[in-house]
Every structure is written in C-alpha cells, then in structure tokens.
C-alpha cells in the first residue's frame, strides 16, 4: 500500500511517497504562488520517480500553509501533527521536535506514544528563521554553507543584541564595517547565538526533554545546530533529509486513515 504526503511551504513544497518498505521517494521543489499548482507539480515529480502512474489509486494527505486549497487531496492535516509522525518514524526515541523553517520556528513536545502534547511557535517575527539567515548571509557576502563552516572556527562571539531582525541587520553591518572589522566567524557566531536563543525560549516554554529531533530546511546548517547543541547541553538528532519530515508525516497519516477504515 502506498500513500502520498505533500507539505506546501512558503519557500519549498515537499512530497513523499510512502510504501510498506518505508520511504519510496521524496522530492523538494521551489514553491510558486499557487498552492494547488505547487502540490500538483510535487506530486507529479514524486509519482514519476516512484514509477507510479497518475491514474493509480492513492491516498493523499496535504499539510502546510495553503494546504487547504488543494482539491485533489483526501485530507488536510496540521503541520504539527505531521511533524510529530514524521519525526517519530525516522527517530523513534524523539520526545521533542524543533522545526526550523523559512519563516517560522516550531517546537513540539511529544508524549510516550509520540503524540503532540504541547507546542510553541514563532511566526510573527522574521528573526531566527531561514529567511533571516539568508539575509545575514547576503550581508556577510558569502553562501550559507560557507557561513556554517566558518562558525566552527570562532574563538569569540560578537554581541548581536537586538531582538528585532531589522535592527540586528544594522548591528551586523556595523560589525562588518568596523575598523578593525570584527572577525567574520565571530559575527556569525553572534548571529547564530541570537537565533538559537529564540529557539531556546520556545523550548523552555514547553519544557526540554531528550531526544530532540531538529528538522526543517535550517537543520542542514551544521554550524547552527552545533550552537544549539551547546546551549541544550546535549546532542540532537537530525534526520538525513530534514525538510521532508512534515510531508512524510502526512503520508503516514494517510496510511493510518486507510488502516483505520480497513479495520472497521
């Protein structure tokens, strides 16, 4: 039995085909303006790679922003539920999920059964998100990967004290143009520390418990994850393809709904 999960995000749309043997295939495409269009494109690519035809009967669950406007899905599920399912599937000991996305950060607490017991999110403010980090990379005039690599070399940490992303930007600029300029790795360390502090606040709101899974696009930023681990005081778990966790969760929920229907 195969199911399809689609996560429509502001920056990227992800699709996962789940089979009895596990993940059959997954795709990540850039999001356009139309949610339905994004979902359709992602689905086509995923099915293509899975060697499945468009006509094959398939249970589809969608999630993410704008997920409700997808006509061809059987069900729309909240991101938090999908994240929990996806993370537990990949990392069965997960009790906390930190999702770092392009525009939002979400922290979930899971109970023993892997169900969401509490959540805290941050979606009002740009600071501490993927887009913020992209902005910072532009200011530092280097790609994100280079920023991440450099951060591990920092001996000290520049103080980026402003809570607001807009002002943090000007602080970074002043560090770059200082005479003598603040070492790049220290600025980056300061930026990462600032981002991680926001995440820590969310974590403390729900209470910290191991094991912690870090997912979402920003989880690929090893430098940032290292700073997070330092603040937590322990290592976190990052799945191989952290951006597809929500879509995977959606596919799992699709399977659950079929199983439930069959058991009646």
């Amino acid at each position: 039995m195969r199911t399809l999960g689609i996560d429509i995000g502001s920056l990227t749309t992800k699709a996962v085909v789940l089979g009895d043997e596990g993940i059959v295939t997954s795709v990540v495409i850039m999001s356009g303006d139309e949610a339905e269009e994004n979902a359709r494109l992602a689905m086509e690519q995923a099915l293509g790679r899975a060697g499945m035809g468009q006509g094959d009967e398939l249970c589809i669950v969608t999630t993410g922003t704008g997920g409700k406007s997808v006509g061809f899905s059987q069900q729309q599920k909240a991101t938090t539920t999908c994240l929990a399912r996806g993370a537990r599937f990949l990392l069965p000991t997960t009790r906390m999920v930190i999702e770092m996305g392009a525009e939002t950060t979400t922290v979930l607490r899971l109970n023993e059964r892997g169900r969401v017991s509490d959540s805290a999110g941050q979606d009002k403010c740009a600071a501490g998100t993927g887009i913020f980090l992209q902005q910072m990379a532009k200011l530092m005039q280097m790609p994100l990967e280079e920023m991440s690599a450099l951060s591990s070399r920092a001996k000290g940490r520049a103080s980026i004290t402003n809570t607001c992303a807009v002002f943090a930007e000007s602080e970074v600029i002043s560090h770059v143009h200082r005479d003598p300029p603040t070492p790049k790795e220290e600025i980056i360390a300061g930026i990462y520390y600032s981002v991680v502090s926001r995440i820590m606040t969310l974590c403390k709101r729900v209470g910290i418990e191991k094991d912690v899974a870090v997912v979402g696009g920003v989880a690929l930023n090893t430098g940032l994850v290292a700073v997070l681990e330092k603040e937590l005081g322990f290592e976190v778990l990052v799945p191989d393809a952290p951006q597809i966790v929500s879509a995977l969760g959606a596919a799992i929920l699709a399977r659950e709904s079929i199983e439930k229907a069959l058991s009646r």
């Binding site: 909240a78 539920t81 969401v116 709101r205």
Partner: protein, 422 residues
C-alpha cells in the same frame, strides 16, 4: 491635542450593526430571543449616548471594570471606553484609522490597542466628547495611566479610582472612600445628586444579575454544553455596560431559561460536541464570527472562561450600597487575575477545568496585554498538571493585522488534532 468635531460616528456604526443583526435574527426561526434582547440593549445604550447633546444627558466616560451602578443611580450616562472601541473596530472594520490617530499622539506601541484606539477615537471624534473622564487602575498600568491624556484630549475634568491590590478589610474601606469621593466629584460636575435609595435598588438588581450569571455558568457545565462558544462575550459585555439595569436582568433571565430548557432536552450548542474548551483571556473581537464558525465545524465550544465569566463568592447587600459596589469590584472575574496569582487563584482555575470537563484550553495571548501574557506559563503549568493541554494563540484584540484567519485556523486545527490524538 484637543478632540476634533465629535460626530459620534463610531456609535452610529454600532447602532446600525446592532439593529441590522436584530432584524436578521427576527427573520431566523432558530434565533434565540435572548440574542435579540442583547442587540436591543446595545442599540439603546448607544442611541442614548448618541442623543446626549439633545437630551442634555451627562456623559461620564469610564474605563473597564468600573462601577457603572453609581452613574445609573445618579442618572448619568456611562460610556464604557474600551468596549465601545472594540465594538467600533468590530462593526466598522476601521481599526486602522483610530489606531494610527492614537499613534500620532505619541502613544508608543507599549500601549495596548484598546487604549491607543480609544485615545485615537476621541481625537478623530469617533467617540463623543464626554463631560467627565473616570478611570481606575483596573486591571493594568495601561488603564491606570490612560486617564490624564484622555482628560487632556477631551478638555474635561476627571477622577481616578485607586483600586487596592489585596482584598483586606482596610483596603476595602479605602476603596469605599474612593467611591465616596467619586460620588462627590460627580455631584459637583453634573449638578445631579446621588439618590442612595436608588443606588440600593441598582445594587439589588446587580445582585440578582450576579446570581443569574452563576446559574448560567452552572448550566454550562452540562454535557453537551448549551451556550454557544462565543456567547460569553455577550455575557461580559452585559456586565460591563448594563450592570444594575433591569433590561439586562430580563436578558439574563431569558437566557437562563433558554439554557435550562436546552439542558433538559439534552440540546448542545453544537451538533456534535467533540472538544470542551477553556478560554483564557479574550479572543480578538474581529474573529468572533470566524471562531463561531470554527466552533460549529469542529464541535469545539468554550465552556468556561476563568478571567471573564467566573464570579467570586459573596452577595451584595442593597442596604449598604457603596460598600456593596466596592465588594463587587473584588468579585469581578478579571480582578481576580489582577493579583496576586497565589495558590487560591491557581487552584480555582484547575478546579474549573475539572468541573467543566475541559479537554483543552486556549490562551489568547494579546500582544498588547502584558500582564495577561506574563501569566501564560504559570496557568499552562497548572492546567498541564490536571492533564489539560494549552494552546497559546498570538493575537491582538483590536488590530486585525497581527494574525489572520488562516493562521488561527491552522493553529486551532493542530490543537484539535492534538486533542483527538490523546
């Protein structure tokens, strides 16, 4: 900084909307009589205010949780500033104009939108100019500090009630004396004398109303709950605006009977009650209709609101009218969260969750209401201990740009799924 030509245009909006809703309700067979009565109450209240210049009525603008009973007993027209601002924002959808007028006065974003809005509303003339400005420190610094600027804007005299922190006997006496001073102030400025017998009658009416609130709350314990999800907003408006008025008693009696009938017949407010919710603080006004729809769609109903519909213990003695008014101030639901948030307050909330068989709680984290948000963690932990999950919704009670229906829907869906999964 003086107010512009007061047109009271905002009031007209509320009156129009109230009359429209009343007509619409009359056309619906399933609409309850109490709904009609509520909107009639609103329309009448605001019509009186609007016609004050002609009738020569004396308008006393006041802030939230204020003893309007005193004004009614003196035949003075009270104008509840925060609620009126909320309603104007709700019915006209023009929150932006009054908020920016408030910002132009130099009021920082520290000042919550109801207060920034009402200052702006006075400036642009959406609210009519009052004859006096009355305010207290209930229930936060925003309210306590709002009066002087409003006096300045409206070029009118004002009186500040200093409401003490604890409910000790000495503090109660202090409050009574503050009220006495206010009566003298009102007599001096309005030319009307306080009729103490009348105040006794008004207090007796308030006492009746309090009992009705308690009975209504008892009825809401039923499974399924009989009162619709956003109905509590009407309950609190009635207390804010019409305390001590016989028309309000009639509304509450009608509502009580409707709910009693529904409970007897096992009729719930929603067809399929799936989630019984506790509401902490107040949802954004402009989302009222949306939240009602969500309620129907998901079978989720707000059954208890610790800060807004739960009344402290005690009765009011009409023979001691002023003391009763002071006592009532300590029984008001919202005042109980003024503080301190001690074991008494926290266990009360936990008990309510259990008595009402609450599945989950929604904490409306109004970005401008600092002292409410500062209590999120403490209440969340208390509720988690009795196995009630809490969803925190960032929003603003008046400003619709802070969050959107999509965002709220997404979060609520996630929360309902969490509750389902348990």
């Amino acid at each position: 900084m003086t107010s512009g030509k007061p047109s009271g245009s905002g009031l007209k909006t509320i009156i129009r909307a109230s009359r429209l809703i009343t007509r619409m309700n009359q056309a619906r067979p399933e609409a309850s009589p109490s709904e009609g009565m509520y909107y009639t109450l609103l329309a009448d209240y605001y019509s009186r205010l609007l016609n004050a210049p002609e009738t020569g009525d004396f308008i006393a603008a006041h802030t939230v949780f204020f003893p309007a009973e005193i004004m009614y007993a003196m035949d003075i027209l009270p104008m509840h500033t925060e609620t009126t601002t909320w309603m104007i924002a709700l019915f006209s959808g023009e929150a932006a104009e009054i908020l920016s007028a408030g910002a132009e006065l130099g009021l920082a974003s520290e000042i919550c939108t109801p207060h920034r809005g009402l200052a702006g509303a006075f400036v642009v003339g959406t609210l009519p100019r009052p004859d006096v400005m009355l305010w207290s420190n209930l229930v936060c610094d925003n309210t306590a500090k709002s009066g002087e600027l409003l006096m300045e804007i409206n070029q009118c005299p004002g009186f500040f009630i200093d409401h003490p922190f604890h409910d000790s006997e000495e503090e109660m006496v202090y409050l009574v004396k503050e009220l006495e001073d206010m009566v003298r102030f009102l007599e001096e400025h309005s030319g009307r004398k306080m009729d103490w017998d009348r105040l006794g009658e008004v207090v007796a009416e308030t006492d009746k109303q309090m009992q009705l609130y308690r009975e209504i709350n008892e009825l809401r314990k039923a499974v399924p709950t009989p009162f619709h999800s956003q109905g509590f907003l009407q309950l609190l408006s009635v207390d804010y605006l019409f305390a001590g008025r016989p028309e309000a008693t009639a509304y509450l009696e009608t509502l009580r009977q409707e709910l009693a009938d529904a409970v007897e017949e096992g009729r719930g407010a929603v067809a399929n009650e799936r989630f019984r919710l506790m509401s902490l603080f107040v949802p954004p006004m402009y989302l009222m209709g949306f939240l009602e729809r969500i309620s129907q769609e998901y079978g989720a109903v707000s059954v208890t609101e610790p800060f807004f519909t739960y009344w402290g213990e005690g009765r009011l003695d009409p023979a001691k009218p002023l003391e009763s008014v002071a006592r009532k101030a300590y029984m008001l639901p919202e005042v109980q969260m003024y503080g301190p948030l001690d074991e008494r307050q926290l266990s009360r909330v936990a008990k309510l969750a259990q008595d009402y068989k609450v599945d989950g709680a929604i904490y409306y984290a109004d970005v401008g209401c600092r002292h409410t948000c500062a209590a999120i963690k403490i209440f969340k932990d208390v509720l988690n201990e009795v196995d009630v999950p809490v969803l925190t919704l960032d929003c603003d009670v008046v400003d619709p740009t802070i969050t959107s229906e999509e965002e709220v829907r997404e979060k609520l869906e996630g929360f309902f799924e969490l509750l389902e999964d348990r």
